[in-house]
Symmetry: C3
Subunit: 352 residues, 3 copies
């Protein structure tokens, strides 16, 4: 397919600077684009490529410009969102949604299957499970007894939902994610062994949530582990039992949140960060990659980093000085020598 | 179902303080319980809720009391274990164990299947595999050739056991766990490439082990990776080849143990902790969340934290001073200035 | 099976010291070997066991020797590679490759299946997928539409390859690995919600790559996430969208590499390390376990550790001094006191 710069600019409601008839037939990253490619710059790190890119058309922020011959710009308020609109169009052309029930699959007689649904081969739908309209269940998914899945959801191949899980609408879950596994609760006994704490609750996932590949969300001991609307979880994340994650909080890969912790809405949690159990994280907190959060965060909207985590600005100061520790150590030893020398000198008259 | 406080107290052999006829029909966390709910307090963090909870009956430790009208307490030696007894009852009422062989499933002709077993649809049982009595194999499990699984085990949907894995009795394995994948062993070659070290051993799992969702346990290069009786592994844990984990050791989510390391019995290993290969961890060691253990731990029963990990008490001291580093740095610079001034003053007479 | 020391020495082209007729019928680790076992020492940590091992034959480096009666040594240039040759022989005797198509499996009518292929029960091969000769697809694998898999590959049970993934030859992928899940890209909106950035690219995996259990590799937003020839990835690793990993780089378990980062060839990345997005790591870099890499590394072949990571030698110095921080802090406070005393003394004459 071929599009002109004018067509794309009209679709995205941008400001076209250059040749409205410039043609593109492909999308490529700015640093590796060729003639005929459309590209974009939303991260300032990549602005340096604007002078050297071979792309024919580039989506840019309002503040950028170029007089490179043969380069057409489409200026936009929000490049990243505009680019997502464009990719959405492309994706729909490439991968039309699947429908129908492939065989062999297993659908319990008491299950309820909506309209226009895709159920892939080897998918398992348990007793009393409900699958909403326009939802896609890819091969090898396990939908346990009494699980409810709303409309317009996608469960990619191999998602496992334990019994009683509740999933809202427009939810996307990637391969290998496990929803509703037992929380990690054991009562230690006097002889050093453990008695398992049965996990009788479930997991509730609200609308517009996306859950990454091989992420695990444990069921509650009692009541529910709750992932609220618009939450985005990356891959390989651990969400323990009875955790609650507020609206539109985004969590990067390999982070872990321990049992019964409540994370507020609109937080950003960095990759490989860890949060202990039984605490609360205030709305809009920004937790750095690899941070270790050991206490509740009460003030909203602040950045935190380090282990144990402290406010990000202070953490940067400490990092800077930590790098200088060898010199600081040496300096202190020399100060001590100098002081001793001076002190001896000063005291010598008294000693005589 | 409705129970009275007296019935529950009798079941748990507790001391009832309040109304023996108080009725409960549900279980809820202490901070969100309503009238008619039973709740519990085992973590001191939650004791503050005792005065404001709306629960009708609360399981508490011997040291707690309340004169709140309408609140009945059941006092217990070990609240957490008692609560697990209660949940166990509830669980058995809610989810009776599954039995029977669902179709389509794949059972090799040479496999041996015990009595009263559940084999879910799309489960795969390989050649010469043995499944013990009363064991449940959920849909999409892979039980490779020659795998032996004992009695009263549960493999949740999508567990993968490579060939020759041996599993004891009363073992629970959660969805997506991989048992017996190849250890990570490669011989570096002069040209920078690697030759794969074949992994010809297996994984042996003893009785009463629980393994969390998406946890991975690699087979041994030779002989066995060994998870001993009563070990509890949370989600997303990495256990490398030839590792040995002693009885009743519990490991929290996302921790990793590198090749050939031997962890003693009764250890507690925190979330996201990492342990290098070829070392030994003494019995009863407590390793903090995110700790990095780079050397053997020879003394039993101590706590360790930080990276590289040191004894927990010392680690806390270092953390406290690390927070003060910016002031310490400033202090040293001022000391130096002061000392130079003093020193110049002191020396000036000699210079003249 | 029984082999003599002479047969093994001839196979490995080693130098035999001891009894050429010494018989072995098993392979065991040096510290637990018995009479009739063959063992090996490649890690210097295990050399101490040479005097006490009960093994009959041991593969050792050229520098080792022993006059223990009944112990035969085979001296080798590269013990680890020689041992891998031996295990390879053993493995081929133990586990002959599987072939044939088990039922029920799902193979789309437009898929192309090569010669001498194994397709396990419950495997799913999508539209236009291509499976090369001599490749093994174990049960429960998902091979999405248009996926291409070359010759001599092994996908263990439960591997998931999203649509359009391309895999070269001699690639091994372990159970639960997810190839081609959506990259984590969302455009934040003024109201705090997110718009999903469609991920329209794919994952390309070159020859001789090995990918560990439950590792996740996200598809590119546009173009390809690219894992180059000879790369070895351990278990539970996160590779984000548009990442590129150079030839023969090895990554240990639970490490994570963020979006669009380019890792050079021949790097070693330690367990639980994390690398931020949009940076470049120079050829031959050695990144320590748990390191946090926040900036590009331009110099080739250096070691890095800590968080934020610095050169390994400097990092060790800082670690050593960090351990002494409590004493350093005390020392500075005492210096200050001493200096104040001295200063008062020195100044007192002037003040009078």
């Amino acid at each position: 397919m071929v599009f002109t710069a004018a067509e794309i600019s009209a679709l995205l409601q941008g400001e076209l600077v250059g040749d409205p008839n410039a043609k593109v037939h492909n999308i490529a990253p700015i640093e590796s684009a060729s003639k005929g490619d459309l590209s974009f710059i939303s991260n300032p790190k990549y602005e340096k490529y604007l002078t050297e890119t071979k792309a024919s058309v580039v989506l840019v922020g309002k503040h950028l410009s170029s007089d490179k011959p043969g380069l057409t710009l489409i200026k936009l308020e929000d490049v990243y969102t505009a680019f997502s609109t464009l990719l959405k169009q492309l994706e729909q052309m490439q991968q039309p949604g699947k429908t129908g029930i492939e065989q062999p699959s297993y659908i319990a007689p008491t299950a309820t299957i909506g309209q226009n649904v895709y159920i892939g081969a080897f998918a398992y739908i348990g007793e009393n499970a409900v699958i909403g309209n326009n939802t896609q269940i890819f091969p090898h998914c396990y939908v346990g007894d009494n699980v409810q899945i709303g409309q317009h959801c996608t469960l990619h191949s191999g998602v496992k939902c334990y019994a009683n899980t509740q999933i809202g609408q427009h939810v996307i879950i990637h391969s290998g994610a496990v929803i509703g596994s037992d929380g990690f609760g054991f009562a230690p006994q006097p002889d050093g062994s453990y008695v398992k704490m049965p996990q009788t609750g479930n997991v509730v996932i609200d609308n517009y949530v996306e859950i990454g590949a091989n992420t695990t969300i444990d069921r509650a001991t009692i009541k529910s582990t709750h992932i609220k609307s618009g939450v985005k979880l990356d891959n390989l994340i651990q969400i323990a039992h009875n955790v609650e994650i507020g609206e539109h909080t985004a969590v990067a890969a390999q982070a872990g949140i321990s049992g019964s912790t409540k994370v507020g809405p609109n937080c950003l949690i960095g990759g490989q960060a860890g949060i202990v159990g039984h605490i609360e994280i205030a709305r809009g907190s920004k937790i750095g990659a690899k941070a270790g959060i050991g206490k509740s965060i009460a003030t909203e909207g602040k950045g935190w980093s380090g282990r144990p985590a402290i406010e990000h600005g202070q953490s940067l100061k400490i990092q800077a000085i930590t790098k200088k520790l060898p010199e600081l150590y040496k300096q202190v030893q020399e100060l001590e020598k100098k002081l001793n020398k001076l002190s001896n000198k000063g005291e010598s008259p008294n000693e005589q």
